[in-house]
């Protein structure tokens, strides 16, 4: 009866690792690895958002803010307080998790899309804070800095306002610094694959089942003992923590952060990535992030040649969002997978219509 069947997660992981290892061999110019590195970083955000949208049925329009919290915590702690990036990274994750808890708590206890509204506003607030923070430096701190002959940023951290933070150090293990593009490529993909694996574990667990149940029928899930509000909050916090991890990686990979990276459009892009990859499909995150990053790059090239098209990316992203929602509401990955399954089943099941046992066996694949 039972034979060894490697789980889909294991197969996907092995294929993923092989692909990531091989890809740089086919890239002549190391600059071509930069967008691939961004795909890894955004994949990490999209995985979390995918769990939130696909499984908890909630939309966040402010994930750029959690991405920013990770990036700026890393930037501030390393450049202004001399923290190791390896300490700054978890600090940003914890901070983002706490903030997400506070933002999500009041919204997620209610039915409906209050979270989308709250995160929309939250994203705006964080963006404005990043821009205007230096203006908020209270007088006493500036005085204290001057008195002690130290930069004011030591007593009162700064976001650098519109010009952002520069010289954010790279991640390093002992004397080995992740400095070259190819090193950063492997570093970010290691994190992305790890995040994919951990989240795939969640999906195939008691918690994941509870989340899928909430997605299937909230009423039934509740009467089976699933505390819906608690799970929604947990997933929201997890998605914020993952976004912060990605933000932190971004800061240490790019070595520079400034507010435009974390604006509202970025939040919308994250949602588009989830939708393209397919809600409730963890591995679709890579495809969603990949499509938008590569498309963005291509549009930038086009924009460079034809300046008239420079602002077209937003229109095209929106068009994709609308088209995917209309024609493939389950996302590209699920739509293609289902089509293939239907095709396979149609081929195997058709001649044996009268033997239900056989059909069932096919259905379990």
């Amino acid at each position: 009866m039972t034979r060894f069947r490697p789980s889909l997660t294991m197969i996907s992981a092995v294929v993923g690792i092989l692909l990531v290892t091989i890809v740089p061999c086919f890239v002549k110019n190391s600059y071509a690895l930069v967008p691939l590195t961004f795909i890894a970083i955004f994949t990490i955000v999209v995985i979390g958002l995918n769990l939130l949208m696909g499984y908890a049925g909630q939309v966040s329009l402010g994930h750029a803010a959690f991405f920013a919290i990770g990036a700026y915590t890393s930037g501030i702690l390393t450049t202004q307080y001399g923290f190791s990036p390896w300490l700054a990274m978890p600090a940003g994750m914890v901070l983002a998790g706490l903030v997400a808890f506070l933002v999500g708590m009041p919204c997620l206890r209610l039915h409906g899309h209050y979270l989308a509204m709250a995160t929309l506003g939250f994203g705006m607030i964080i963006y404005i804070l990043l821009m205007q923070w230096p203006d908020f430096t209270p007088m006493p701190f500036e005085r204290l800095g001057a008195l002690l002959h130290i930069p004011a940023s030591l007593v009162w951290p700064t976001t650098g306002g519109a010009s952002g933070l520069v010289d954010i150090p790279e991640l390093a293990v002992g004397p080995f610094v992740f400095h070259e593009n190819i090193q950063k490529f492997y570093l970010t993909w290691a994190f992305a694959i790890l995040a994919l694996l951990l989240c795939a574990n969640i999906v195939n667990s008691r918690v994941g089942r509870a989340l899928r149940a909430v997605h299937g029928s909230e009423a039934a899930a509740a009467t089976l003992g699933v505390n819906i509000a608690a799970y929604k909050i947990q997933v929201f916090v997890l998605s914020a923590v993952l976004a912060a991890l990605a933000g932190s990686l971004y800061a240490h990979v790019v070595n520079f952060v400034s507010p435009p990276t974390f604006n509202f459009i970025r939040s919308v892009d994250f949602v588009v990535m989830v939708v393209i990859g397919g809600m409730a499909s963890i591995w679709g995150a890579v495809l969603g992030a990949g499509t938008i990053v590569l498309l963005g790059n291509w549009l930038q090239d086009v924009g460079a040649k034809y300046p008239r098209f420079a602002e077209f990316d937003l229109i095209i992203h929106s068009a994709i969002l609308i088209l995917v929602m209309i024609f493939m509401p389950a996302g590209i990955v699920c739509t293609v997978r289902d089509a293939v399954l239907r095709w396979l089943r149609g081929r195997t099941a058709a001649p044996t219509q009268t033997a239900p046992a056989h059909v069932e066996e096919v259905a379990t694949k």
Binding site: R206, A220, A222, G225
Partner: protein, 257 residues
């Protein structure tokens, strides 16, 4: 025999429309109790209040001496009350077995963090949960379809799956909302023996149903609702001869004619 569930002066209004009005009755442990009444009598509303899906406007529900009418549904499930739904509320995005595995939610412990890192015997627990689920599927005769998507089951079997899922929480009180509606005569016969088997296993049953023959043949006691009010309560024989019950049902039939 002790009282398992106590419903006292229960009322529910929707924007001024009173769906359930000042209803009181109790359920004794070990019995099969039925709730009947014409369409729109407030049966489902009452059941929803017992399972916590709908908060009552006034009155209270006590289960084993503890007031539960102000508790959320997932807590009530934890106290030992499970239910099925009139319009089958299966998790159509899951397999048959997975549906029942959700029913084991309260009987397993895996948390988000341990699931991520597969800590603390997560794999062993998963195996146990699945074995348990198969055991409950066997009780309703669905174990040979464990890995079929729930959405591909025929309707009658979806009803059975819902019962298996509810049983998986190991309830002391099982609420069946129109479990027989949409079933063929044969499926209804199987359902009756299943209900007896569940009762014999020590689970008290409170069922709402339209099928008069079914209700009258299997219940120990019947509560009759009409226009949100309790108009009769007693053994099936008593209720069948109650004038108000006859009037309510004849009235309904006259209206249909």
């Amino acid at each position: 025999m002790t009282t398992l569930l106590d419903v006292k002066n229960l009322t529910r209004a929707f924007d001024g429309l009173i769906a359930v009005s000042d209803v009181s009755f109790s359920i004794t442990g070990g019995q099969i109790k039925a709730l009947i009444g014409p369409n729109g009598a407030g049966k489902s509303t009452l059941l929803n209040m017992v399972s916590g899906t709908l908060p009552p406007t006034s009155g209270l529900i006590a289960y084993q001496g503890r007031v539960i009418s102000n508790r959320p549904p997932h807590r009530i499930a934890g106290y030992g009350i499970a239910r099925t739904f009139q319009n089958v509320e299966l998790f159509m995005n899951m397999t048959v077995a997975e549906n029942v595995m959700v029913g084991r939610h309260l009987r397993s412990r895996g948390m988000l963090f341990s699931a991520m890192f597969r800590l603390f015997g997560t794999a062993a627990e998963e195996r146990r949960v699945r074995e348990d689920a198969l055991r409950f599927l066997e009780r309703v005769g669905l174990h040979d379809q464990a890995d079929t998507p729930a959405s591909e089951l025929p309707f009658g079997r979806q009803r059975l799956l819902e019962i298996a899922r509810a049983l998986a929480t190991e309830p002391r009180l099982l609420l069946l909302d129109e479990a027989a509606s949409g079933l063929s005569t044969r499926e209804k016969r199987d359902l009756v023996s299943l209900i007896y088997a569940i009762r014999d296993a020590g689970v008290t049953i409170f069922m709402v149903d339209h099928d008069m023959d079914l209700v009258m043949s299997i219940s120990d006691e019947v509560v009759v609702l009409d226009h949100g009010e309790k108009i009769a309560e007693g053994t099936p024989t008593d209720v069948q001869h109650d004038e108000r019950v006859i009037a309510a049902y004849l009235g309904e039939e006259a209206a249909h004619a």
